[in-house]
Each structure stands twice: as C-alpha cells, then as structure tokens.
C-alpha cells in the first residue's frame, strides 16, 4: 500500500505540491489527472524518489510504502527503485539490444546466471505483449522497434526486475491509437500482479483503465475517489468543470 501524509514539495522556492494526503491500495490502478503543470509528475516521482536528482528540491511530510517511510535515512534508493518500477512518457530504450534492454535491471543487480536472465527476459516480454513481435530479433538494437513497441519494451524492462508497484507517466501520449489500446489492455492484465499508478491527459483512458482517480490542480489534490464517482458525479465543481471541458 502507498500512502502519503502532508506532502509539501518545493522546487527551490516554487511550491509544487501542497499538503497532499493519499492512500493507494494494492492491485489497483490509480489515475492522476489535471491540467498541465499541476504537479502530477512531481507527485508520481515521489514514490521512486526520482525527484532526488533535482538539486534544488525540498520535501516535507511522509511518503510510505507498506508502512515504511521511503525517505528515511536508512533506505537504499536503488533497492526501493527495484520495488517501484517506472515507465516514462517518451519511450526511452537504452542504446543496447532488445535483450539487453530487458536484462538491464537484472545485470545491474549483479545477476550472472545466463539461463535465469534469458527466462526472465522472455517472461517479461510476454507479459508486456511484445514477445511474439521480437522473439526473432532479440539481438537487434532496440532503436529498430516502432515507438509503440519501444514503449512496451520499456514496460517489459520494468517488469523484469519484479517490482510490486509500477509508475507510468503518460505512457501512451507519444503513441498512435492502436499502440495506445495495446498498452491499456496490458494495464488491465498487469493489474492482477502489480499496483499501478498512471498519469494521463486522456480522460477516456483514465475512465477505461483506472479504479481510482485523483484530480490535481495547482499543486493541490482537489479530489480523489473511485473513478466512476469522479467521472459521473464529482463532489467539487473544479473537477466537474475540468472533466466536462476535457470530454467537451
């Protein structure tokens, strides 16, 4: 379970997240929606401490995974990131072969067993619904794949290290409709084994894939509830306006 309490986040003097509290259950899909620049990505990246890379950042409040404060001094960030995988907005495969892309997380973890790696690579590619398309060209550069295939490769890459949580930041925004629906189907299947948090600008997508939805605006979490409720009968007027404007 993911939980945040009184999260405040600053980029230098800019107050990007304001007093956010949220609970996310295991094996659910949670969507973050809201206007551009409202802090969705910033919030999402708290959970794998990707914001740590920004020198000017400052954080107060608590961010817990299964009750453990992931910002505690004793936490090994690399280990945390093995539990919390991430898929980015633009497909970003490594300049390596398809096989090595998927094997990457295992290799940096010090796994040497070639047969284990090969099996895990195949499983991950199968889970990401990419195996059939690439099984004959595992030794080819990942850059030779289409954008949609590259994004599924990035998902496979995240699955290979067996995380329990997967963060997706607009994973389909750079893709065509067919690739997008493939990714959405995939999210449905992955939900069984993973907790998924997804940022999206596509209201239909949020409605289709998620169990819960959080609506953000200007660094605040305006409303967070079951997806059905948010889309059919939101409490707050801002949510209503944003959604109707978006479905327009």
């Amino acid at each position: 379970m993911l939980e945040t309490k009184n999260i405040d986040f600053y980029y230098g003097s800019f107050h990007a997240l304001k007093n956010i509290a949220m609970k996310i259950e295991d094996h659910t899909v949670t969507a973050f929606i809201g206007p551009s620049g409202c802090g969705k990505s910033t919030f999402l990246r708290l959970f794998n401490r990707m914001n740590d890379l920004i020198p000017s950042m400052r954080l107060t409040g608590e961010c817990l995974i299964d009750g453990e404060d992931i910002y505690h001094k004793s936490v090994d960030v690399a280990k945390l990131r093995k539990r919390v995988g991430m898929v980015f907005q633009k497909p970003n495969p490594f300049p390596k072969t398809i096989f090595e892309n998927v094997a990457y997380g295992l290799r940096v973890d010090g796994v040497n067993d070639g047969r284990f790696i090969a099996r895990r690579v195949e499983e991950s590619l199968q889970s990401a619904a990419l195996w059939e398309e690439v099984k004959d060209k595992l030794k080819k550069s990942a850059f030779e794949l289409s954008g949609g295939q590259q994004q599924r490769l990035c998902i496979a890459r995240a699955l290979a290290i067996a995380p329990s949580i997967i963060l997706m930041d607009e994973p389909a925004s750079a893709l065509d409709p067919i690739s997008t629906s493939k990714i959405e189907d995939l999210i449905h299947i992955l939900k069984k084994d993973y907790t998924i948090v997804i940022v999206t600008h596509n209201m239909q997508q949020a409605a289709r894939v998620s169990d819960k939805t959080g609506f953000f605006m200007l660094g605040e979490l305006i409303e967070y509830d079951d997806t059905k409720k948010i889309f059919m009968n939101p409490e707050k007027e801002e949510t209503q306006n944003y959604i109707t404007g978006r479905f327009g």
């Binding site: 980015f88 490594f94 390596k96 072969t97």
Partner: protein, 398 residues
Amino acid sequence: MKRIIEKVIESLLTISGATTGIVILLIVVFLFREGVGFFSHSDIESGYVLCVNGKNPVDRLTPEQIKRIFDYEIDNWSLAGGNDEAIEPFRMNDLSDYYSDEELGENYEFVPEKLGEIIGGTPGIIAFIPEQYVPGKSEEVKVLSGNKLKPADFFGGENWMPTATPAPQFGLLPLLTGTLWVGLCAILIALPLGLGVAIYLGELANEKIRNLLKPTIELLAGIPSVVYGFFGLVVLVPFIQKAFNLPVGETAFAGSLVLAIMALPTIITVAEDAIRNTPQTMREASLGLGANHWQTIYRVVIPYSISGISAAVVLGIGRAIGETMAVLMVTGNAAVIPRSLFEPVRTIPATIAAELGEAPHGGAHYSALFVLGCILFLITVIISISAELISKKQHQAQ
C-alpha cells in the same frame, strides 16, 4: 523576390561547399605529386658520381652500403659483392695527397686525367667525384650507375640523414617509429585522464565547479603550442632528467607528456559535451531500474555518447600526431629508432618543420619531406577511419 534570395543563398552555400572540397583536394593532390617525385631522384648526391677501378666486378651499391663504405664500416669489397680487396674511399679533397696544385693545372684542367690515373692504379678504390671531372672513357675506370631511390630503401631504411654525402640516407623508420611512439604514449596518458575529467565534469561536479572548470579548460585549448613547448622545455625536461637520472631530459617521454597536456583540453571538452548530451531520460531509465550512479555512467551514458567520445579520441590523437612545435622543442630531435621512452626521438612533423627551410627546392631531400607529409596525412586518415568504424560497430552492437 523571396524566391530569388533563397536561390542566391542556396547557390552561395553550394559554391562555398564546392570550393572547400576542391581546395582540400588540391592540397592532397599537390602533396602527393611533390612526394611521388621523390622516387625519380638518384640515390647519390646530384652533380656527383661514384667511380671504381675498371676491373672491379661491382656494378651497384645501395645507399646504405655507400654510406657505410664512406664511414669505413664496410672495408672490404667482398662485403659488397666484390672480390676480396680492401676498399679505399676517395673524395675530392684527397686529391692533394697525390698531386700538387701545379700538376692539376691552373683551372683544374688536368683533374680528370689525374683522377683517371688514380682510379686506374688503385684496385680497391671508390671515388666520389663531381660529374664534370669524370675521366674520359677508358678500360681502367668504371662509373657506377646511380640508382633511382627505391621505395623499399625509403620505407625500410633505418637512417635519416638527408644531407649525408656521398649518399643521403632517407630511411623512414626512425621518424615513423618516433612519431607513433610519442603519439601513442601521449594518447595513453591523455585518454584515461581526459575521459576521467570529462566524466567528472559531466556527471559528478556540481554546477559551480563546472562553470569554473569548463571555461578554463576551453581556454587551455587555445594556447599556442610554442607556449606548451616552452613549458615543457623549462619545467618538464629538467624534471624528467633529474627524476629518471638521465643524461638528457629531451626524450620521447617529455614529448609525450607535453602532447598529452596539449591534447587534454580537446579530449575533455568534446567528450564532456557528448556526455552532457545524453538525454536525462536515459539516466532516469537506468536509475529507475535500480542502477546506481556508476552503473548508469558506464552502462548507459558512455555507450550512448560513444560516437562523441571517439570523436574526442580522434581529435586528441590527431593533435598529438600532427603537433610540431612543442615536440620539436622537447624531444631532442635525434633521428634514431627509439628503444625506450627515455631516449631522444624525432617525429615526422618536427622533421618537416626543421628541414624544409634548408632543403634545396626540387631536390631529393625536398621531395622526401613531401613524402613524409603524405605519410602523416595517411596516418591521420587511417585513424579517423578506424575511429569511425569502431563507433559504427559499437552502434550496431547496441
């Protein structure tokens, strides 16, 4: 109107591109044309001939043999393919040992005749004399036909003595090995250091340090090479001499060090740019999979920026191989094949710079320097091509 301007600009760009190409081509053609002429020169100093006794069976001598005969290293004809007979080298100034000035005539008109007598009367003689004094045709005197300079003697020759008489020695090996030796050691020093600094600047240094160091290093790239040469001469050379207890400090090692220092700014700047150009999303992807900073650097950042890094290497090597002034100042300029790092050497560019001014225009020495230029050119071409191939291979493997 706009169309016309676009057309004009387009043709201007085309013209400038074409001109650059043609100029480069012309330089290369010029270099090679002058160089090829080298092999049509005679291997004996022009204007002179070598004569032996008419009964001597030897018809030809290599430049190397001629040199060693006149250095008294070969002292018997049997060592040069002739009979067992002591060799007696003879030069024009030896003439006064045989005849007084009066006997030679007021205008030296009797010189050919007297030379004929000497050569005819000394079975083991080899005489190096000006063409105009060659004795008239007779049984007693044989003129050794001069050979054309042979590529084999040039590329395999172990001596570079372009002003030696009677036979100048154009042996490439000492210069080539000197160049490669100095260049190779320079790059072995500069490459790890340069890449290290580039990685530090690109990945580890904080903004403040970077903003201070980067411009400073870029500034270093602009310092004229003579200044580096001075620094090497005044600081490095005495230091090396003391530290390694050598007779002289001007050594291949001093050259390599100065070159390494000179190549560093280029390597650092270019490699650092390549490293910084690795997209942030690449780093995030790697870190997001649980890799630490170092794993991210050597598994993702370096492979991603490999073509930029190999460009840095090529530019660095290019600078090291082609650099003239600084090397000329600190390597001691002895054209011998180096056996260790701590001996004086001489590089191809230093040779060209030092000798072109004094080589008579159109002579064998002059053309030889052009051949050296061609070789330098070929070396850099080979380096660029192999770097290109390496970075291509890397990309295919990825």
